[in-house]
Symmetry: C2
Subunit: 475 residues, 2 copies
């Protein structure tokens, strides 16, 4: 473990890796480009899973599980899809001690094998909508891996749905998009910019891609999750047909949508500070950590008993609470839980037992107060809400300060160079989009949904533009 | 979907596949030997996951995630381990458009990559015990796949722990063994035989393997889950060392333990009948299904409103309940939910609304009663308990009827041939074990823990035997 965390201003990239190491979230594995998610990192993922899974199920989505391996020929059925994924595939050529007759790829995403299955499951309009999700691992071979953000293997949920009507499918993709926005905003305390992807950034094989783009503290964008409306593109390639109410055969309209462990990287880069990770209470695996202050062996059991009493009190009030029982001095304990971003720390020693108090520290603003045990539940309840709100407000302020409207090319270049989200006019062509990327490394993150469309002139070509779009450099 | 389910007495193997299809649990996938777990099958898995995960966490086990791919050289570090798994490996030779310098295998189990990691994580006795679990997919290339029981890919949890003392590690493996026994008994209503594996059946690389062996309705055994104590075998091969309290370096003592989707196959073959699946209420994703009896359009909304009222009532009392809204006749609905093994069905039509009653059918014994709405919660509560207990008692009776003590070779052969669990003396040698398997296809399932060890003479060789062991044919 590093003794110090590189400050953000010195080297944001190194800071990110230092925080992940200091908070014990994940580490590189012996397999190039892949990572091991450590218990604390995985516990965050479990929190996210619980929140998302509940919302999916409320919409009637059912979980299922499809095979890891996909016949390579399946991917080739959708021309754009294979074009997009071919360079990233891991291929199984041998199994059971023999060379296989047909190569299998490890799923980079499961549209192809799932549509092949849907074609068997769907017969009539009565079978629709078919709303399926799976929680699984996927693999995309990455040449420049980065923990959580780009790794050869990652965990995610991928939802896949089929509908009888195009507008119903599109609406469903947008419903999920709303769940994603809300989950980032309300639970991860990351209010984000969201909208539709430009054609060049649209998912391989999709008609439209909806995205949530969060601003990291260095002003770069993180594509936080996406939802896709496929029209009947995939359905045609995989024969996903149904007999409609007029007894005619039609292709189904489909969607897919995914949220991955990348979101944990987003949490780090949104809320972290130079002391380490900072977690929003609603997603923190541990909301309150109790640190026993043990000065000598004779008082040890007294202090631990009191700690257990405090833990029990908070536990029965549905807080996620843990006592740190490690055989370490209090300074080391404080340091560890600060790095791990636990919202509230409680210090408890002999003095506190005598006074029936605890010393409470907030991770988000470092304030420290002494409170009576009788008020503990009330204070913790309101402070956790306050911390959640404080973290969210910081992001809102940052988003506001670092989102700039520009109308000239020189302003555009400067705004991008200095790490901002830039709202600028674009002539709608892929050529211009590519040219801007070549010149500035900025891409169109989205055509925002929550921005009044006012026409103007393209910031590069001066041609007509129906509305501003969001440009930024991205992870 | 088949219109009929083959009766168990006609063809037990076909019956098993018919029930899986009729209950919509899973199906074969286009990748040879692998399966797609359908929503209803996956929902059972989610129930099992919840029950196990809670118990692991109560023991202090933390979830984490390790890479899918393992360098092939890792497996070769433990001679018996690679010998055991080599024939079943799927190998990735190409990725990112290139031939890899080193081949990777898809994990058949994760001891090797996890111990490689533990060697970095563990420094001192303060880091022990290290209690880790992961929920994941694994792959073992199967030539004769069978849904849930043997598929190339399956889902499971694999726990891996490291301890400072050998007896502590062994005790931990036995604690998990107890959780497994209890979960099968109390939740899946499958009281089973359990004990230690004979050397020939011990896991590749383990010192001891503890197993839960359930009797299927055809008298064959299903190895339902196992826990392994490794001594420091793996620790030596992977350098998992720690500095003990006397400041000396030692190898750690490790365990691993797994429960897989195979357990769903066990549920089918334990409780199913000729009408389809029968689920124990404690593990059933849907405990009560409400079937609206809609005779005409005019009464439709009235019936559906009443159904929702009944659902709400049961839902607020924490039952897992669903209304079947499919546009089908009541006969079809009853048939579907019978095949899917839902413990209680409620039929609700105009007549029931007038009388403020519901018609309740039990899946386990086909009884049908009419009950007042006011008594619904009380009746459902006690009936679900009764059904759980009834299914469990049936297994106890079957276990008793089909477990036979024999003392001669001819009795042994006959008892095995007629589909029984056989308790017989064995001389303790692997030669005899192999010979018995060759002659009868029966293997030693376990050296039972819950059987008084009384000495005798080996059923095949007549040599001394310290205690009876359990023989059976197995899946």
């Amino acid at each position: 473990m590093p003794t110090t965390i590189t400050p953000r201003k010195v080297d944001f990239s190194q800071w990110y890796l230092d925080v992940i190491e200091a908070a014990e979230l994940a580490e590189h594995s012996p397999v190039r480009g892949s990572m091991t998610i450590k218990p604390y990192g995985y516990a965050i993922w479990e929190q996210i899973q619980t929140v998302l899974d509940r919302q999916f199920k409320e919409l009637g989505v059912e979980n299922a599980y499809f095979p890891l391996l996909i016949p390579q020929t399946f991917l080739e059925k959708e021309a754009k899809h294979i074009e997009g994924f071919a360079p990233e595939l891991a291929v199984v050529t041998h199994a059971g001690g023999e060379k296989l007759k047909e190569n299998y790829v490890i799923r980079p995403t499961s549209e192809t094998i799932i549509y092949d299955t849907f074609a068997r499951w769907i017969r009539s309009y009565r079978d629709l909508p078919l709303l399926i999700n799976q929680w699984c691992n996927v693999m995309r071979w990455e040449l420049r891996p980065r923990l959580f953000l780009r790794t050869t293997e990652f965990l995610w949920q991928e939802g896949h749905t089929a509908h009888a009507l195009p507008e119903e499918a599109r609406e469903f993709a947008l419903k999920i998009h709303q769940i994603y926005i809300k989950t980032y905003d309300e639970y991860l305390a990351i209010p984000a910019i969201y909208g539709r992807k430009s054609p060049a950034e649209t998912f391989a094989g999709a008609v439209e891609t909806y995205t949530v783009e969060s601003m990291m503290q260095d002003g770069k964008a993180l594509q936080a999750c996406t939802s896709h409306y496929f029209g009947n593109n995939f359905a045609r390639n995989f024969g996903v047909k149904f007999v409609n109410q007029n007894n005619q055969e039609e292709f189904a309209y489909t969607t897919s949508w995914g949220w991955s462990t990348r979101s944990i990287g987003g949490l780090v880069m949104s809320h972290g500070d130079d002391q380490g990770l900072v977690l929003p209470p609603k997603i923190a695996p541990i909301q309150v950590v109790i640190l026993p202050v043990i000065l000598n062996d004779s008082s040890k059991s007294l202090v631990l008993d009191f700690c257990q009493q405090v833990q029990q009190l908070l536990h029965t009030n549905n807080f996620r609470v843990k006592i740190d029982l490690k055989d370490e001095r209090i300074g080391e304990k404080i340091f560890r839980w600060e790095k791990r971003g636990v919202p509230i720390r409680l210090e408890v020693g002999l003095k506190e037992i005598q006074m029936q108090t605890v010393v409470l520290s907030r991770r988000d603003n470092n304030t420290k107060i002494t409170i009576n045990l009788s008020e503990l539940v009330t204070v913790v309840t309101s402070l956790l809400e306050e911390i959640q709100d404080n973290l969210r407000q910081r992001i809102i302020t940052m988003n506001k300060n670092k989102t700039i409207e520009v109308d000239s090319w020189s302003e555009f270049v400067e705004a991008i160079e200095t790490g901002n989200f830039v709202l600028a006019h674009w002539d709608g062509t892929e050529d211009t989009e590519v040219l801007i990327k070549e010149k500035t490394k900025a891409t169109i993150r989205c055509i925002p949904f929550n921005l009044e469309p006012v026409p103007g002139k393209c910031v590069l070509t001066g041609k007509d533009s129906p509305q501003r779009v969001l440009f930024a450099r991205a992870y």
